[in-house]
């Protein structure tokens, strides 16, 4: 990073505060998860944060099950869960289910979404879908070095404004942007940064109304359920997994179980 010297006083540059924990995951303060399209460098970011050397390769589908690791930053212990890369959370392949269920029911404190700077538009589809599940997210725009090679300019501030979450440019393979990412994760985890992702704008009034009405009904029975809008939408779509979870009452249980684990 060329500007390192100028930023030396910035609080984001306290890498000394980072202790990589590898797989030592006891008594964590925060759980963060990493999601994103395949081959965007999630595993590389994961390795940078945790000090693990999960094998990375330049091909989609490398991470087949979720990998876990941890680190300490500013005296807080973080557990990191690396999810398999997916193109969407809509269809029902195993990978997408693993990713979706973890964000939905694992209730991570922060979801780090890693995107490929050179394929931002396509990657944003997943970002928007994730932001429907959770609003506590940080966007890591990875492969900035590739973007520069392709003469792409990305308006990081504009992106952050549009999405309502912190956006960090990074080149994980060169270990650039990791300090800023750690800081952003902390800000969201501690609530210092309050994320305000926008509602999807291009949705019809009728649909929004249906979602609202159904959400209220769901909240009556499962009070305090997070992602209630998302659940409502899946019910409207007739998603069998979610219908089953409502019918069996599991929807509420899953949520409670996860809360007890975390507290």
């Amino acid at each position: 990073m060329k500007t390192t010297n100028n930023c030396a006083n910035c609080p984001a540059h306290n890498k000394a505060n980072l202790i990589k924990l590898g797989i030592n995951l006891e008594n964590v303060d925060y759980v963060i998860t990493m999601a994103g399209n395949p081959n965007t460098g999630k595993s590389t970011v994961f390795n940078n944060l945790t000090g693990l050397r999960q094998h990375t390769g330049n091909w989609p589908g490398k991470t087949v099950s979720r990998a876990e690791g941890g680190y300490i930053y500013n005296k807080k212990r973080y557990k990191v869960v690396d999810l398999p890369g997916t193109y969407s959370l809509l269809s029902t392949s195993t990978d997408e289910e693993v990713a979706r269920d973890f964000i939905l029911f694992g209730q991570p404190d922060v979801t780090v979404i890693v995107v490929d700077a050179t394929r931002l538009e396509r990657n944003l589809n997943l970002v928007l879908q994730i932001l429907e599940l959770t609003d506590r997210a940080v966007l890591c725009v990875n492969l900035m070095d590739e973007a520069r090679r392709n003469n792409l300019e990305i308006d990081i501030r504009g992106l952050s404004k549009e999405l309502g979450i912190p956006v960090i440019p990074a080149s994980a393979r060169r270990k650039q942007g990791m300090d800023e990412l750690l800081q952003a994760i902390e800000d969201v985890a501690t609530g210092r940064y309050v994320c305000k992702p926008p509602k999807i704008k291009s949705r019809s009034k009728k649909l929004n109304h249906a979602i609202e009405t159904l959400s209220e009904k769901i909240l009556e029975i499962f009070p305090g359920l997070p992602n209630v809008h998302w659940v409502a939408m899946r019910l409207l779509e007739g998603d069998n997994g979610i219908i089953e979870a409502v019918r069996s009452g599991e929807l509420g249980n899953l949520h409670e179980e996860d809360l007890t684990i975390q507290n």
Binding site: W59, V64, L124, S202
Partner: protein, 479 residues
Amino acid sequence: MNKTALTSRGEEILSAANVARWDLGTDFHDSIIESIYEDASRIAKKTVRQLGEKEAYSFDLKIDKIVTSKWLGFPLMFLLLTVVFWLTVAGANYPSGLLASLLIDTVHPALKNLAASINMPWWLDGVLIDGAYLSMAWVISVMLPPMAIFFPIFTLLEDLGYLPRVAFNMDNLFRKAGAHGKQALTMSMGFGCNAAGVVAARVIDSPRERLIAIITNNFSLCNGRWPTQILIATIFIGGLVPAQIAGIISAGAVVAIALLGIFFSLVVSWVLSRSVLKGEASSFSLELPPYRPPRILQTLYTSLIDRTIIVLWRAVVFAIPAGIIIWLVANIHIGELSLAEHFIQWSNPFAVIFGLNGVILLAYIIAIPANEIVIPTVLMLTVLSTKLSGIGAGSGVMFEMDSIADTANVLYAGGWTLLTGINLMLFSLLHNPCSTTIMTIFRETKSVKWTLVSTFLPIVLGLIVTFFTTQIWFMVHGS
């Protein structure tokens, strides 16, 4: 709230959802997706600017046109593979000899002296130093150099982004065989380790196609078998031609075996998908990632740690008990002969039909936990059964061997011919997976039946192939 009450209220939600769904109309699912795409494209338009030419992108396209072209794709693939193996064969010989002379010629006698000086009982000294230590030393000197060359090169190709191109080239063939195109990826993983390849088959969603990928993964030569292939090819195939071209010819022979493996992978997939695992190939989209300049030093480091050391460690862990077993079967006598000699003599007539010998069969039984130790076991058993003098220090001792030439001498003395070498290479490709892979297959399929199929199908194929090779050989050369 008790469970029944909860359930009935759950039904309430569901019926409300049903009513709302009728209101929204049928195109509503599509409109949810469309609205997300619209928003994504709007945000991207606002925040991403293309300055000037997409240089790197068009450069990528140019390379892709060549490496995935109809005519050049496959030849380039084979050429690349051959160069990788040639580098491995050419580079591994010298450090192998160096390691052998250190671990086997120097450290082993020192350990023996130490054992003698503390009056260690002969059997304990035999089991520990001649069995466990020597087999471990053997594995290290035979395996470490080729792995330390092969893995980093392979990892560099992987990081560069070449593997998905291989998958792209192969996709059509796999689909014609009724298998999933992603099987090309799991197959490539299998070239590293079959257990990893079997786990990687999770990327295939259809259970039918996933099973095919799992069963056929063993046809990818794994890193436990590369050293066997490389060594035997160097001795028996490289030995046929003048020294200047021996390296490249041996590498070519190894590539031929690897290609034969791919061929079997396709044929078996084809047969399975037309018989017990009937069905159509499902389609999928494969993204060709951009070429990324590999980070050379980092790759060298991670491939050394991730692959070389871990694989070597596994080999050592399995070599130690195997070394003990070898020593025991060579030293426990029933009547005149040791257990090993009994087995070798008993199985030899059967093995000869397949152009192999009793030693190879016994070695493959002892080496079930790890393919890596086949060659050391073969050498040790050969010395034992032919009672070579001047080499080795007695029964069940893995002896010193400074170079590939010495290894060759032992094998020739054991009655090996070019045919034996070829058949060993074929059998090394076509035999049961190692015990780790077998266990992984069971964990992934949860089925005893398919685990047994995956285990025995390659052995049957191996015996058929070596049988015909041998019979044809005899027909051509006369016996």
